[in-house]
Subunit: 399 residues, 2 copies
C-alpha cells in the first residue's frame, strides 16, 4: 500500500483523549467516572441561543458569506466594543470555531518550518494545528511554582531565531487558568515590536476572570495594529462547544484579506449556527453572573481541597476553568491510568488529563495534571475526596 | 510590519468570486443579475431536515465525537449500503463539510511539495486546499471538444514523478458535469496500483446523474481498499450548503486513524447540524425525483439554448448541475466582466464563472465559462436569452 505522509504518521494523538479507552473500560465494570479531563462544561446553553434554532424560518439552508454573516459580524463588533475593543465588522472574520481561527492565523503568518513561541503548558491542540501547518512550536516554559506567569525576558529572547514569526498568548490561559497582567502583555508587545513578530492572542476565556482580576485584550495595546491577531470562540462563553463558531479579529488588512481567501476555499462557517450565535449576543447579564459564580465556587472547592492534600502544589487560578496541579506521584500518566484501571472508592473514580501533553519540552509536566471545573459543586467535591484517597494509596506515590 | 507568509501572499483569490464587486455595482445601478456563477441551489432543503433543528431537545450544545456522532455514522453506513458501498460506521469520519474531508485526505497522504494529479478543469477550491497543505496540483488536461473525458493513459502517466502521491477524481464532475465511465475508473485504479498512488474520489454529486448514466463510486472497485478515499458532502444532496457536514470514507485503517487525529485537533463537526443531517437521511424518495427532474429540465434548457448559439461549444453533461461552455469570445474573464459592467438587456444581465480559474495550466479555459443550473427554469431560459443577445453585440467576439 502507498505510504501515508510524514505529517500523518507523526500527527500526535490528543493527550486528553488517550485515556478514553480505560475510562470506557471502567464504566463497563460498573465504575462511575467523574470526567475532569475535558473542557466540556455542564452549564446550560443560553435559552435565547437554543430558541434561535427552534424558531428559524429557513427554506434553503444556504452558504453564507465566507467571512461570516454581516449581521453577526455587526453584532460581534458591538460585543467587542463592550470590552473597549474598537473593531469594525470588516475587521472580523467568522470562523468554524476558534480552531479554524488559530489555523488561519498560523497559516497567514508562517510558512513551512517557521517557528511560533508559545508559553507552556499550553492548549494541547496547538500541537495538532502547528503540525498540520508544518510549523514548529518553540515553548517558553512556565512553572507551577510561579503560578505560570511569564518567565523573565531573557528566557523568551533566547528562544528567538531567524525563523521565529509569531508569539502566541492564551489569555486567560488554558490549561493553567493564569490571567496575564498588563505588564506581562506590555513585555510581549515590546518583544514583538523589537523582533518583528506577530502576536496571536487566544482570548476564548475572556469572560472567565475572578477575584477582581482584569482581562487585557491584545487589541487594547497601542502600536501593534499591524501585528496583533485576536482569536476567539463562543464555545465556552455560551457553553456552546458543539456550535463551532469562532472568529479572527485584526486591524491588519492584509491578514483579513488572506484569512478571507482561506475562508473562501472552505466556503463558509455553519449558517444556522451563526444565526444562533447572533441571538446568543442577547444573553442576559444575569446568565453570566450565575455562571461565573458557579465556576468560582467550583474552583474554590477544587483548589482548597487540593491545597490540603500533602505534597500537592496548586495555586488558585484567576481565570478560565482549569487548574494545573503538581501531584506527589512518579508519573501523572501512570497515575491517571491507574485511577481508571485499578482504583475506585465506593465504585467511583476520577478521570484527569495528564499535563505532560500540554508541554512541548520533553519531561515537563510529568507529575502534573489538568483539572477542568466542568461538573457541579457536589461532583467536584466528591472528585477531590476520591483524588485524595487515591493519592494516599497510589503505589507510585513519591515524597 | 512583519511580513505575511508566502502561503498567505500567494493564496489565490477564489475565481468564482472575483467578479462579485462588479455584480454588486450592477445591482446598485438597478440591474437585475442572474447568478449562474455559484453552486448555491435554490432548491428547498428537505422539510425533515429543517424540522430537526426546530424540534431539538438540547440543553447543553456539547462537543460531539471528533469523528462524528455515532448515530449519524450508523445512518451514513446505511445510506452508502443503498448504493452498494459496503462500509461500516467505523470507516466513516464526519467532517465539517466536504472541504474538510478533502483537506484531511490531502494532509493524510501528502507532505510539503508532494504532488497530486487532478483532471482539469477542476473544482476551483482544490487550489486553495493544496496551497494550504503545501502540495502541488499537477493537472491532467481534459477538453470541451471531448466532453471532458479522461485523456489517454500516456497523458496521465507522463505527469507522474517521484513526488506524485495521489490522483483525485471528482465524479460526477464539478465544473464539467462529466460522469466517469467504469472503464475510465478502471484505468485510474490500474494507474494507482502500478504507481503506488492514493485515489481521492470526490463524489458529492453522486445522486445527480441523468439520462440513465450510472455513477460508479471508487469504493465499488476491488483491490484498492488500501488506497481509495471517498470524500462526500450533504451540501448539494439536500440543498444544505450552509450546514457544513461532509465525511471521509475509507477502508484504510491508518488513514482513518490519522483523519481522527486531525479531527481531534479541531474537536468536532457542528453537533446540531449532524442531528439534522441524520434526519435528512429520511428524506422521501419523491424529493429526489422532483429535484432531479428539475435539474434535468434546467440542463436541457441551458444546453439546448447554448448549442443553438453560433460559435458556442457545449456538450450535454450527464451529471452534477454545471456545464462548461466554450464561447466565441476573446477572453471569458473580460466578457463576464463586460456583462456586469457594460451590458444589460431590459435592465437584466447574467453573472458567469470564467473557467480559466478551474484550470491549473496557464492559458487553458480562456474562452470558457461555467454555468450552474441553480435558478428555476424560467430564469435559466431568460439567462440564456440574455447571454445570446450579449454574445451578438460583445465587442470582443471572435469567429
Amino acid at each position: 500500500m502507498p505510504r501515508l505522509s510524514q505529517r500523518a504518521l507523526n500527527m500526535p494523538p490528543s493527550p486528553i483523549r488517550k485515556l478514553v479507552p480505560y475510562a470506557e473500560d471502567a464504566k463497563r465494570r460498573g465504575i462511575k467516572v467523574y470526567h475532569l479531563n475535558i473542557g466540556q462544561p455542564d452549564i446550560p446553553t443560553p435559552q435565547v441561543m437554543l430558541d434561535a434554532f427552534r424558531n428559524h424560518q429557513i427554506k434553503v439552508l444556504e452558504y453564507g458569506h465566507s467571512a461570516g454573516l454581516w449581521e453577526y459580524r455587526e453584532g460581534l463588533a458591538r460585543y467587542y466594543q463592550q470590552y473597549d475593543i474598537a473593531v469594525t465588522k470588516e475587521e472580523i472574520i467568522v470562523t468554524t470555531a476558534g480552531s479554524e481561527a488559530i489555523i488561519f492565523a498560523m497559516m497567514a503568518t508562517m510558512d513551512h518550518e517557521d517557528e511560533i513561541l508559545i508559553p507552556e503548558p499550553f492548549y494541547t491542540n496547538y500541537i495538532g494545528f502547528a503540525h498540520e501547518a508544518g510549523v514548529k512550536i518553540v515553548p517558553i516554559t512556565c512553572y507551577a511554582e510561579d503560578g505560570f506567569r511569564l518567565p523573565p525576558d531573557e528566557q523568551i529572547l533566547n528562544k528567538i531565531t531567524p525563523r521565529t514569526r509569531v508569539i502566541l498568548i492564551c489569555n486567560p490561559n488554558n490549561p493553567t487558568g493564569y490571567v496575564y497582567t498588563r505588564e506581562e502583555l506590555e513585555r510581549v508587545r515590546k518583544i514583538a515590536l523589537d523582533h518583528d513578530l506577530f502576536i496571536i492572542s487566544d482570548e476564548v476565556y475572556r469572560e472567565f476572570v475572578f477575584d477582581g482580576a482584569v482581562h487585557h485584550s491584545i487589541l487594547h495595546f497601542p502600536g501593534i495594529d499591524d501585528r496583533a491577531i485576536l482569536v476567539d470562540s463562543i464555545s465556552k462563553r455560551y457553553s456552546a462547544c458543539g456550535a463551532r463558531i469562532g472568529c479572527l479579529v485584526t486591524h491588519n488588512k492584509e491578514i483579513l484579506e488572506t484569512a478571507l481567501r482561506f475562508g473562501q476555499a472552505r466556503l463558509c462557517p455553519p449558517t444556522l449556527e451563526q444565526i444562533a450565535a447572533l441571538a446568543a449576543l442577547n444573553t442576559p447579564a444575569s446568565y453570566f453572573e450565575e455562571v461565573m459564580q458557579e465556576y468560582r465556587r467550583r474552583r474554590d472547592i477544587v483548589v482548597d481541597a487540593l491545597q490540603e492534600i500533602p505534597g500537592v502544589i496548586c495555586q488558585k487560578p484567576q481565570g478560565a476553568f482549569y487548574t494545573i496541579a503538581k501531584l506527589p506521584v512518579d508519573d501523572a500518566d501512570k497515575f491517571s491510568q491507574w485511577l481508571l484501571e485499578e482504583f475506585h472508592d465506593n465504585n467511583e473514580t476520577v478521570m484527569l488529563a495528564p499535563a505532560n501533553g500540554f508541554y512541548a519540552t520533553p519531561g515537563m509536566g510529568i507529575d502534573e495534571v489538568r483539572i477542568a471545573f466542568v461538573l457541579n459543586t457536589k461532583a467536584m467535591q466528591r472528585s477531590m475526596e476520591i483524588l485524595k484517597k487515591a493519592l494516599s494509596v497510589y503505589p507510585g506515590r513519591v515524597k
